[in-house]
Structure formats: structure tokens, C-alpha cells
Point group: C2
Chain length 325, copies 2
């Protein structure tokens, strides 16, 4: 399929064209990178925007159940929803493709939903780049909401927050001591905190946990991008579907306020600029590993350095002098 046809079908909302385009985006082949840039440039002129929602939740917090309930609620409102994932560990654990589809069984069969697992990459930078571009493709394909989920490990929350308009933290009910488990930096990124499992025996604990987090949030300094009352903490029950509608209401209210108070376009512009700079850096570093001759030279020099035959600085100078020619 040539790029014209691909772009046209994707813009018409064709799911197979979207899947194909994302596969192109995930490729690291140089010619594919060029085609990706061209495809994104063409689709960018459509000017379509989705609400980009970042969602972080550690394993066991009920993230898949929440996404399924949340996604079905949105498609029930007539909205089209795409779910992407940022999970640099998926390359190691393997099998996330099957995993993502089976853990959200109803949503994956919904014609108004599109679920794409995390690209297989061993480093976060690569996953981040490809996911960002996939978000753009989903927007061009006319999705109303693009949900980017991540398991809360290391830097992945920051990466997701930097490619989304809203950042949601999904937490489990917990004793007061465990509050400390959420790093301050992550708390500061959250726009809305959802305490899941507010059902059955855990309901009172969930309510108390929500109050504790609300107290902790009040200690953080006020951010310009927040209206009164945000960041907000709510309880939800993904299993029973409780509180999901209210959560969606709060997300749209926050998004609308930010659009109306010019905290939207500026953020997107800053994000786009950072992606560009990041892309240049990543691509530059990729040259060190993509070129077989250079990779071999790095290996040889690395061994000489390890044996003490060559200083790290001298070895680096040698490699770099070959890179200028």
C-alpha cells in the first residue's frame, strides 16, 4: 500500500490502515523512518485532536479492569477510544500482545475501541517515541480519546505525562503508612487520583485512602494549570462500575477549563518541541548501534579499554574522529 492510500484510509478511520501505520511507526528501518515522517506530516494537516489521557497504575491495582470499564463507558457515549501502552519491560516479559487483548476482552471486541500493546523495545526512549507517534496516528484516525497506560516503574510515568493532556494515577486502597510508597514527583504530576476497589469490604479503606491522598495533595503547591479543587481524588470501583462516570465528568471539566484558560495549546506546543529534540538525540545515538562497522569498532575499542590498553577518553576520541568523516 502506498503512503497516499494509507493516509487516506487511515483518515477515514480504517482500523487496518491504522494498525499498518503503527507497525510502520514501530519499525526502526531508516526507510521506514522516512515514510513515517512523511505520513505524519500529511496527516498532521487534518488538525484533528483527541483528548490524550495518561494513566499509571502498578500491577494489582486493577488497571485492566478499570480501562475496560472506562473504555466501554466512553464507547457507550458514542466516543471512539484508543488504548496504547508504554511498557519498556514488555520486551522481556513477552507475550504482551495476547495479554492486552485478553485482559480487556469486551473492550477489544468493541468496534469503537482500538487496543494496541506496547511496542517491543528494550529502552524507554524507543518506546516513548513510537507511542507518541502512534498517538498522533490515532488522532488522525478520528479517535476522540487516546488513553496511554503505563505500569508505574521508574521514568515511565514522566514519559506518559509528557505525551498526554491529563495524567491520571490509579491507586489501590492502602494503610496510612503505604501512602509514602507513591513518590512525591509522581504525585506532583497527577491531575486526578482514582482510588480503585471502592467496593465490598475495601470500600471504607478506599474512602479513607482517598481522604489521605487528598490531604497529601493539599500540601503540594498550587499549579497554574489547575482550576479550584484540582488535582482531585475520587474513589472508583472498576469491578462494579461505580464512580467511572463521575471520573469522566471531572476529566472533561478539567480539559475544558484548560482549553478555555490557554493551558492547552501551550502544553501541546512544548510537548511537540521536546519530542523533536528527543527524536534527534535518539536517532543520533542509534547510529552507534545501527551501523555494523561502527558497532564492531565500538566493540573492539571497548575490549581494549577493559584490558587497560587504551584510556576511555582516547578510545572515545578515536571513535568520534571516524564519525565526522
Amino acid at each position: 500500500m502506498d503512503l497516499d492510500v494509507l493516509a487516506e484510509r487511515l483518515a477515514a478511520g480504517d482500523r487496518r490502515a491504522l494498525a499498518r501505520a503503527i507497525t510502520l511507526v514501530e519499525s526502526s528501518r531508516a526507510d521506514h523512518r522516512g515514510q513515517t515522517a512523511e505520513l505524519l506530516a500529511r496527516l498532521g494537516t487534518l488538525g484533528r485532536q483527541a483528548l490524550r489521557i495518561g494513566l499509571s497504575g502498578t500491577p494489582g491495582v486493577g488497571k485492566s479492569t478499570f480501562i475496560e470499564a472506562f473504555g466501554l463507558q466512553l464507547t457507550g457515549l458514542g466516543l471512539r477510544v484508543a488504548v496504547l501502552a508504554v511498557d519498556p519491560s514488555s520486551a522481556r516479559s513477552g507475550g504482551s500482545i495476547l495479554g492486552d487483548k485478553t485482559r480487556m476482552e469486551l473492550l477489544s471486541r468493541d468496534p469503537n475501541a482500538y487496543i494496541r500493546p506496547s511496542p517491543s523495545q528494550t529502552h524507554l526512549g524507543g518506546v516513548a517515541r513510537r507511542t507518541r507517534e502512534s498517538v498522533s496516528l490515532c488522532e488522525a484516525a478520528g479517535f476522540d480519546v487516546v488513553l496511554v497506560e503505563t505500569v508505574g516503574v521508574g521514568q515511565s510515568e514522566t514519559v506518559v505525562a509528557e505525551m498526554t493532556d491529563l495524567f491520571i494515577l490509579l491507586l489501590a486502597p492502602a494503610g496510612g503508612d503505604e501512602l509514602q510508597g507513591v513518590k512525591r514527583g509522581i504525585m506532583e504530576m497527577a491531575d486526578i487520583i482514582l482510588v480503585n476497589k471502592a467496593d465490598g469490604d475495601l470500600k471504607p479503606v478506599a474512602t479513607r485512602t482517598a481522604a489521605d491522598y487528598a490531604g497529601a495533595l493539599r500540601l503540594l503547591r498550587k499549579r497554574p494549570q489547575d482550576p479550584e479543587g484540582f488535582p482531585k481524588v475520587l474513589t472508583v470501583s472498576a469491578v462494579e462500575g461505580d464512580g467511572i462516570g463521575k471520573a469522566w465528568h471531572e476529566m472533561t471539566a478539567l480539559a475544558e477549563w484548560r482549553r478555555a484558560h490557554s493551558h492547552w495549546d501551550g502544553r501541546r506546543a512544548a510537548q511537540a518541541r521536546r519530542w523533536f529534540e528527543d527524536e534527534v538525540r535518539q536517532a543520533l545515538l542509534a547510529r552507534l548501534t545501527d551501523d555494523p562497522a561502527l558497532r564492531a569498532r565500538m566493540e573492539t575499542a571497548g575490549q581494549r579499554v577493559a584490558h587497560g590498553d587504551l584510556s576511555p577518553a582516547a578510545a572515545a576520541q578515536d571513535i568520534l574522529s571516524h564519525l565526522t568523516t
Copy 2:
């Protein structure tokens, strides 16, 4: 001074030559990078090794007082001690040059000690590279112990642990709850934990804190590079000088065990290799900001991306195409 003279004087232990060489190492000028590589290559053939000790401690823990007491103890034993710092924040706070010398007043006047503040760099990668090379210079100048200190913020402990043979964590007496303040990853890097301020009213608390940390360490899995009983927790009083001799004894015992059980050369070789790879990556990325024409092109493209005239991927492709020619 030409490189031959500089290398010769430095190898003879001349402090002014050392200071001059470190200034060369800290320069980012391309010709200085070349001279640095040549200087390090010449000095590397001397094969001199110091005991490289990494020391991390947050502000308020008494780090300067400890380094002064520890350093004076070592010079009292006839050893020559260099103190370097890794502190990426020093560029912002400013004035660390005066600061370092005044906060370790006696040690800074000791002819067998050499104190060098953290190079002024805004990013940790730059500080790391320059500090590593300064460590090599201090070794070539015949120092017996090179102490690399850092204030425990973010990634700086990892950076210091990767350029040293032993990693020491200096902590303050604390209530049981505060133990959690030390991240697990940092605990796992520590070879020896020193609980400072074991004097006066705080002595019982320090003793209890040490027992708590010892308990926490026993929960971590055994590392191959440790003999029985390590990692170890000790109490010290930098103000009164208590426990400093014992701490030094444990450091040398650990270092000797590692040398005898081949956990020394392998670590140094792996470190050297990582430095080399790191140096290549850093230098490659530096080209983006060092070249004025390229910097201007990045700026223009960045603005177009922010305005939405160009996609991040297309802008990156454009920059990268200029980099190949």
C-alpha cells in the same frame, strides 16, 4: 605549559600541575578534549591505582565534618588524600569553590590533601565525565585515596558508585519511620553505612539507627563482591573523631578481600568500558549544541514544530539529514 612538562610534573606529585590538568579536563573546548585524551593516555601507562571511595550524604548529615576528620586521619597515617565532588547543582547554587575550602578548613591546608570542588556543569553526565577523568589524574599524581563525595540527589549516587571501588553511605540518626527515606536502590549500592553524630544526646539514637539499618541490609540478597559481614553498618562521630579509625579499617579490609578474590580488576574494567561508551554518547550529543550553525537550525526547527508548521518526526529527519553530510 606543554603536555610533556605537564605530565611529568603531575606524575611527580606537583599540585599546581594537577590543578592545571583538572582545569584542562573540565574544559569543553574540542582541542582541550584532544589534549585531555593524550594526557590521560600518557599518565595511564604509570599504572598507579588509588583506593577510590565514593561517599554520599544528604545535607545536614555532617558530611564536610566527616570528610575533614576522615581526611586528617588518613594524612596522619602518611597517606595522600584527594577529595573530589559530584554535584550537578553546584552550577546553580554557585560559590562551591569557596564553600568546599572553607567547610574543610584544616584539611584544605594539609599538604598531603587536595580538595577540588565539583565542576560547574548543569547536567550530571558532564559532571560525571569530568570527575572520572579527574580521579585518574589524582591517581597518576600519586594519591593513595581518592574520595568522591556527592550530596544524595537523584542519580548522583549511582554515578559516584560507578566510578569508585567502595561506596559509603553517611546517614544521620533517625526514628524508625525515617528509615524508609533511604531508597532501596541506594541501600543496595552501599558497601558500608556510617551513622554519624553518635555523640552526646544522639548517641543512643545513632546506635539504634545503626541496628535498624543492619536489619534492613540483612533483608537484601547477598552480593558476590562481599565477604561475610558486609555490607556493614557502623556508628561514627565526626565531631569527636570516634569510630573513624574503625571505619577506615573496615574499608581497607573490604578492599583487600576484593582484590584477593578477583572482584577488583573486573569491576574497574567494566567501569572503564562504560566510561568509554558514555563518553562517545555524550560527545555525540554535544555536537548538537556546540556547533552554532546546527544550534540555530535546531532552534528554527523547534519553533516551527511548536507552532505546528512541522511535525516533530519531519523536523528531526531534516536535522539528521544535515548531520550525515
